[in-house]
Symmetry: C3
Subunit: 353 residues, 3 copies
């Protein structure tokens, strides 16, 4: 017998093998692993709760720390992600809950001792009420949910998983915080021209956001997808969006759409996605947001970015100038991530928010 | 002067140099570093408190988080151990206490700056009320207790250590959770045939459990030790158990005892323990628990395992089948680890549980 | 464009670019990045609060955990430091606040994804109320304060930074805990002969302490600086101290001053600071504190050390003997670090302490 024989089924298989429950108005005790669990009313509920929690945190409402008092979140991050990790932690803490860490264990112990994801997730499930999971393998959050359901049949204390991103698969909390930020900044999604820019083929966050915008049942929305020809939005997402009646425009030329966009969502185009260096160099300048580019946008545009950022926002000097521009909302977007995660965690823990 | 001259005495020396206090009915302010500190009444007290705390957690008794409110546990894990680490953390959190971490410091800082265990433990002792210590050197928990006693003479805020395992030495909390699980599942230890399987020579958990079963003053207990001939239970443990009047049967053939066992405690036989590959291959199939083997057990057997597991429970497919079998209680055993640690931590912190 | 182009300005530039606010009697919402922010009344306030908090912790005053309830500290340690890290964590926890961690993120994620300090600090600033920052680059805490001020103009939830040491620059909390320990042990600084020994050129802690002693407006203080000739106190610190009217004596011969010192503050002389091995060997024995050396001190001297320690306190056997000597106060000094950090954290969070 070798290590391969011991491996659990590939995580990706669990996307088909496991069907997570729809939220359908009731978050309590449910895993959160894909945006497809939500319907419009669920999205509204998250947006409203996130807004309320933000307001309560800012006025330092002392009752917020009672919402998840005594509840434990295990943070299982198989790959580091400063923002997602810290904002999950901060969300749970602000609700009065606690966090236990398996990261060191995950990095050192499990690899060393050859433990698979199914067993590590169930170990955390024995101690915690909720697992925040980040894992590089697509479908890993589905796999975690599958094995936690098995565990929950055997032990008395139930545990759910909330995905913090699984490979090129899903990143539902990022999508929700992006949606919240748009609604929060623009008042509504209705009638907006929303432009997603960058690597739309591999970009997990733009897939989730595009789907959520489609599911949000807004009227008069126009989605513009701007990418190098080799990094276009996958057909599955395109089909999903169009089936929901969204008007889509695809292009590789940012300037076709920049001046008409109400929301510009910027992401990085990575050199390593291109087979030939020359292909990358041919397009990269098209995909750098600088102060000059931002100045070509509408006066009331909002510039979003999931962060972290690198060359796609120019030099550090460009960063400093962009950061001061009131149209740049990526810091508010980042802060909103905490409030959206607070809303989700509180809801799945059964708190009344 | 060189690094060797700076080394503190070898940890193992502290097993003789330092005598931890007996519990003798009073846990408050005492280090927990060996099962030999306990007598029967102390074991009963831990078992009862663990059961009560489990019941209180499951019905979400809001007073549990007041038991260690304001108390600080430092988690000093010099080797990773997902389960022990996370369950100590979760135990302290569920009691309302806090956890501070020295792991990164331990990994990077102390090694880099050449700090010895005695000094790192006292650093933690200056900030925390309790240290959960995991260290690869036998006797290290004795050494920690020794130096904390010295520290406690000098500073005002006392600090105790609770062992999370020290090398091939002791792992008292694992032994206690195993004992709790047997009592919890079978109602009592009286009259049980308990079979410990695997590497009994180096297996820290089976040593602690065997001793605790002997100390538990149960009647009619039969202990069966099943191991390869080269990995038999050490004479010290064997003598200890027999001196307590326990009936012991040693064998290398599982099938001699499997059908009569009420409890089967499974552990891994590691290839690296064998001088010759052929010796390992000759025995390994005897030490794999599969669904077929489990089916040869008594109908009401309980199958335990300290986890993590690897080849000793066959393929992942075998895992999935074993996990569904109601006779497998290793997940409950894992969950119990948290409640037993809650009981211990609360008691040494002086809480009334 | 390459990585260099993306780098933010060197951290050291921010020492000049950014001027932190003076405390001037009001700590709430202010960064703590240099001892120069304090005046005598502010130092008195910290010392008094630290003493009060220590007393409250020791008598287990249950209201202490309400002081920072609901507040979040992000621990951003770009280099490991067991003591500073753990005591910041413990300080925030004892005040009832929470801690979120970016260390793994810092180690793995940001390096991997090439994120600069300015962006990582602002990510933490979006989630936390306070950042404890340790970074190897001089001026990094000034840089963090600069970018947090920018962030605070854009988002609603403000965040401040408290330095846990930045390279050879500042380590204000260490200086404050050293000052507190002297006042606490000796009743006052007036009339004391205080001897700082070791590497005074690169030793961050002795710089901060010397400055604080000068700012403390004590009368009749004598500072003795004992170092190898090549590692003398920098002129900037010497000038600062003398301008404040402090009597300074510099020497490379410990025995000139040892018998007259009321406080001996010991630090390590590192071999790697010497160009030639022979130069190091010529002086090193002069800079080893042993029981015999301590016996040459005044009966009521206090021996301090920032810890960790290595050869500069002799062998482990020497350590054990020194540790038992009532004149050694470095463990109390370490414990005091937590109370001083509690005082600072509570004050910048606006708690009434």
């Amino acid at each position: 017998m070798n290590d391969a024989a011991l491996d659990v089924r590939p995580s990706a298989q669990f996307r088909h093998l496991y069907q997570p429950p729809k939220i359908a108005g009731d978050f309590a005790g449910k895993h959160i692993i894909t945006v497809e669990q939500f319907d419009k009313a669920d999205l509204d509920a998250v947006i409203q709760s996130a807004g309320t929690l933000r307001e309560r945190v800012l006025r330092r409402d002392g009752e917020v720390v009672r919402l998840c008092e005594g509840r434990i979140m295990a943070s299982l991050f198989y790959e580091a992600s400063t923002r997602t990790d810290m904002s999950f932690q901060a969300a749970m803490r602000r609700l009065g809950g606690s966090v236990v860490f398996g990261s060191n264990g995950v990095q050192f112990s499990s690899v060393y001792k050859g433990e698979n994801l199914a067993d590590t997730v169930r170990a955390a499930g024995c101690y915690a009420d909720l697992i925040a999971l980040r894992h590089p393998a697509e479908g890993s959050s589905f796999q975690a949910a599958y094995y936690l359901d098995k565990l929950n049949e055997r032990i008395e204390k139930p545990c759910v998983v909330v995905s913090g991103g699984d490979g090129i698969g899903e990143h539902p909390t990022q999508g929700l915080l992006d949606l919240f930020t748009i609604v929060d900044q623009k008042g509504s999604v209705d009638g907006l021209a929303i432009t997603l820019v960058g690597d739309l083929l591999y970009g997990r966050t733009v897939h989730s956001l595009a789907k959520l915008l489609a599911m949000f049942e807004a009227t008069g929305v126009k989605l513009c997808f701007v990418s190098p020809p080799s990094l276009k939005m996958p057909d599955t997402v395109l089909d999903f969006v169009q089936k929901h009646g969204i008007n889509v425009h695809e292009t590789s030329d940012l300037h076709e759409v920049l001046g008409q966009s109400d929301v510009v969502y910027w992401t990085r185009v990575q050199e390593e996605r291109f087979a030939r260096q020359a292909d990358y160099e041919a397009v990269r300048d098209m995909f750098v947001m600088t102060p000059a580019v931002l100045n070509q946008c509408k006066r009331d545009v909002i510039l979003m970015h999931p962060l972290p950022r690198k060359y796609e926002m120019g030099t550090y000097n460009d960063h400093d100038i962009l950061d001061q521009n009131p149209r740049s909302v990526y810091f508010q977007q980042m802060e909103n991530g905490m409030y959206v995660r607070m809303a989700l965690l509180a809801k799945v823990m059964g708190a009344d928010v």
